[in-house]
Symmetry: C2
Subunit: 126 residues, 2 copies
């Protein structure tokens, strides 16, 4: 049984292909954390929603859940919606240690990789 889990928390969207890069991110992360159950959960429009996913993990006996908001900026979803959900989950599952990371888009190395991409996106750049 895997007792530790990471949830990549994303917004969700109506377009079915929207989650493709998040699935790739999950696969990349899971490969490097073989002893951790790495999964996606969504705020809205896609399944599973975050509370639903935590219910599943709790039923499996997970005792540690690391939440990583896969958002570019820290807006209302990360600053307001997520803390409310996490507080409810902490109250519901006192046996689980929850941590919440800063949004991925705030990470300097992620920003540097995005800048590399932007520079390369300029056509006819000498």
């Amino acid at each position: 049984m895997i007792a530790r889990a990471m949830i990549l928390f994303a917004h969700g969207a109506r377009a079915p292909g929207w989650a493709a890069p998040f699935e790739r991110l999950r696969t990349l992360t899971q490969a490097r954390l073989p002893d951790v159950d790495v999964s996606l959960a969504f705020l809205e429009l896609m399944s599973p929603r975050l509370p639903e996913r935590v219910d599943q993990l709790a039923a499996e006996g997970v005792v540690e859940v690391a939440l990583v908001p896969v958002f570019l900026g820290q807006g209302g979803h990360v600053l307001r919606d997520l803390p409310v959900m996490v507080d409810e989950l902490k109250a519901k599952y006192p046996q689980i240690a929850f941590t919440v990371a800063t949004a991925v888009g705030e990470a300097p190395d992620v920003l540097n990789a995005m800048a590399d991409y932007c520079v390369g996106a300029m056509p006819s750049n000498p």
Copy 2:
């Protein structure tokens, strides 16, 4: 006069601090494209909106605009809203060559940097 421009196109949000990483991305990109006018524009909730920003650049005589969607997934905003706006801008400004990049979140190096961040976000990871 700078005749070439890049617009980093982001969603926008109500939280004032939301745009901070996008501002840092703009600064990083601008530093590496000194001959290009690099700016931010938003879909909603923040200024300038994309058409407004293109109006400004057109008035300045810009003849090339590279649009980079700073979105993680390619959802309705990137797949539907943006092409509609770009078509209108192309019709309005036939003298400007527009290009539209794939969303930054689809770039493999960006995904790899996000995976690095996720791995580091697992507490007590040996």
